[in-house]
Amino acid sequence: MEITAIITALCLVLGSLLGITGGIGVYRLPDFFTRLHACGITDSACAFLILSGLMFQTGTSLETVKLLFILIFLLITSPTSTHALAKAALNSGETPLMEQQQTQQKREER
């Protein structure tokens, strides 16, 4: 077995595991901002690992360039939209869980 195949396999398996972790997080975590955090894992780390794993298989060809572009664009756009989403959510009154707990604590202390 070639060394590139092993690298590809490692990257893909790791990426898939991260993806599933993020997916479970998105399903299970308690509030929007924590879920957004889990979503970020699948958008960046998982995508990065899977796409770069695939890149090892194409050698030097047009496909490698395309994969590289996909990777770059994903790494630019998905954090941007995540950022915009978080900002919009904050602006329209969604409060992070921690803040909610803090205000609750203060209320109880009074």
Binding site: L12, I24, C39
Partner: protein, 100 residues
């Protein structure tokens, strides 16, 4: 060997898609749904790329490329159209629920 790995990755991506779909269906807030759609877009990119390698014909990465480029348009559109609203329609508001 690699075939099996590609297949396993496809399955993993499908599983993530399923979880994202659940989040989109369950809600509760509109932002959750928007996040799920966004995440779904990224997973589509990955699925299409890996599927190309699984079938041994990776020349169709253009489709993944367009998703990578244009996918955030949906997010922008939502933010833009529902930004100025006093009662954002995209909310699960308890008050609105009671009206019925």
């Amino acid at each position: 060997m690699l075939e099996a790995i590609y297949g396993a990755s496809c399955l993993a991506i499908l599983a993530v898609m399923g979880l994202a779909l659940l989040r989109a269906v369950l809600g509760p807030s509109a932002f959750d749904r928007l996040m799920a759609v966004n995440m779904f877009g990224t997973k589509t990119v990955l699925l299409i790329s890996v599927f190309g390698f699984l079938t041994g014909r990776p020349d169709f990465l253009d489709i993944a490329l367009i998703y990578a480029l244009v996918n955030f348009l949906g997010t922008i559109a939502v933010l833009r159209f529902f930004e100025g609203r006093k009662t954002p329609a995209c909310y699960d508001e308890p008050a609105e629920e009671q009206k019925e």
